[in-house]
Structure formats: structure tokens, C-alpha cells
């Protein structure tokens, strides 16, 4: 009789870092998750802090005073960077999900071709777009401030 041993092929969070053969898309997968977790945790706090505007000017300015200063400014920049990456990589994921940019299905004839190579341009494109957004954000956060 077969003995059930849970899910030995599941690596959990460790799989984000050591899940198998590493390629660009694997790094993007891990980074997408990390930025996603960071963004949702930020959102929960952001809702609570910005809702203070409903209580008037004094409450708003007190709340903004509590989240000002260089540490929070740097934190906001990290949130912007996470947004830039997560959004542009998210566009790539939606396109791949819908079958765009993955190439036509072909017979599995040796030497095998992988669609990952075909998709690579999407990955590079999303990184370039995220980089452009990040440069604009950096200018706004630190140069034009």
C-alpha cells in the first residue's frame, strides 16, 4: 500500500530561492512575490493612515507628520520601486497567461525548442519599462524634490 507522505515536491518559501534551474523568469517570479507581499502590507497601513483626511485638516497633518522624514521618504521610494516592477512584470504575466508572446505550439521534435526563449523578449521588455519608470520616480523623489 502506498504511504502518503504529504507533499514532498513542495519546497515552500525555500522554493522561491532554490526551486530548480535558474533563469531570468525564475528571478522575476521571486521578485514578483516579494514585491507583492510588500505592496499588500503597505496598502493595509496606507488605508489606515490616509483615512485620517476624513477627520479634518488637523488629523491629516498629524498623520502626515508621523510618516514624514528621510526614513519614510526612502520607504516610499521602495514602495514606488516595488510598484514599478510589479506592474510591468504583471503586464508580462497577463500577456503570457492570455497566450501572447509565447509562440505557436510545435511538435516536440529533438532538438527541443523551449518557448521560454521566445518569451524572453517580453521579460526584457517589462524590465526595461520598469527601469524607465524607476528612473522617472528617482528624479521626482530625489532630484526635483
Amino acid at each position: 500500500m502506498l504511504k502518503v507522505q504529504g507533499h514532498p515536491n513542495r519546497l515552500g518559501v525555500r522554493g522561491w530561492a532554490v526551486g530548480g534551474r535558474w533563469g531570468l523568469e525564475r528571478y522575476l517570479y521571486t521578485l514578483h512575490r516579494l514585491t507583492g507581499v510588500g505592496l499588500i502590507l503597505y496598502l493595509l497601513l496606507h488605508i489606515l493612515v490616509t483615512s485620517s483626511r476624513a477627520f479634518g485638516q488637523a488629523a491629516w497633518e498629524a498623520a502626515m507628520g508621523r510618516v514624514s522624514g528621510p526614513v519614510f521618504h526612502a520607504g516610499e521610494y521602495l514602495v514606488f520601486a516595488a510598484f514599478a516592477f510589479h506592474a510591468m512584470n504583471g503586464i508580462r504575466l497577463v500577456l503570457v497567461e492570455l497566450g501572447f508572446g509565447v509562440g505557436k505550439p510545435i511538435e516536440p521534435v529533438y532538438p527541443y525548442k523551449t518557448s521560454v526563449d521566445f518569451q524572453r523578449s517580453l521579460a526584457v521588455g517589462s524590465l526595461v519599462l520598469a527601469g524607465v519608470l524607476l528612473v522617472l520616480g528617482t528624479l521626482d523623489f530625489f532630484v526635483l524634490d
Partner: protein
């Protein structure tokens, strides 16, 4: 089937977030690059009270906040739930995570929507 529907909503919410969070980020963090004075009519920072009131007076901004709030809470909490369930917790814990996230999401949506409506009324009265 249920998970397939939720996943579709997750993707659709991501597209909604792309548009509205893109607008939010432009107003709040790319305002000097794109010279978005019409969105921040008062001189100074986008978080200055005068700018908060100016945006709050319109119907557009509070409405986008509510749509963004719903989409971001669903997208984010569903994504985080997926990550946690992938770790393979027991069925009871999986259910508890799902229920907790629904309650947290619904609570924050109600609170955030209330704040958007209240601040709209407050801004119009000023």
C-alpha cells in the same frame, strides 16, 4: 471552477489597479515630472491639505479611490492567500486564512470607502 473564477477576477483586478494606481502614482509621485498642476492645483506637495481638499472636491478622485481600494484589496489579499496556501497548511488553517482575509478585506473596504465619502463631503463644505 470557483478558483478559476477567482483567478480571473485576480487578473482583471490587476488590470484595474494598473490604470488607477498608475494615475495615483502619477499624481502623488510623478507630479513634478509630468507637471500635473491640474491634479494638484495648490502649490506645494500633493499631500498638502489644500491639494487633498482640491482633489476631494471632485467626484472623480473619491470614485477612483473606491474602485482602486476594492481592486487592490482583492488582488493583494487573494495573492497573499495563494502564497500562504501553497505552503500546505492543514485544511482548518486554510479555511481560517480564507475567512480572516475576507473579513480583513471587507472591513478595510468599508472603512476606506467611508473615509472617501466623508472626506468628499468635508472638502465640498470647505
Amino acid at each position: 471552477m470557483r478558483d478559476q473564477k477567482l483567478w480571473t477576477w485576480h487578473v482583471l483586478a490587476g488590470l484595474v489597479i494598473l490604470v488607477f494606481l498608475g494615475l495615483h502614482m502619477t499624481v502623488m509621485h510623478l507630479d513634478k515630472i509630468f507637471e500635473a498642476e491640474t491634479l494638484n492645483p495648490s502649490d506645494g506637495k500633493p499631500i498638502d491639505w489644500a491639494n487633498v481638499v482640491a482633489r476631494g472636491k471632485t467626484l472623480f478622485f473619491p470614485a477612483t479611490y473606491v474602485v482602486l481600494l476594492a481592486a487592490a484589496l482583492f488582488h493583494g489579499l487573494y495573492g497573499l492567500r495563494g502564497i500562504l496556501l501553497e505552503l500546505g497548511p492543514a485544511a482548518g488553517i486554510q479555511r481560517a486564512i480564507s475567512v480572516l482575509f475576507v473579513l480583513v478585506g471587507a472591513g478595510l473596504f468599508v472603512f476606506g470607502t467611508w473615509a472617501a465619502i466623508m472626506s468628499h463631503g468635508l472638502a465640498k463644505a470647505l
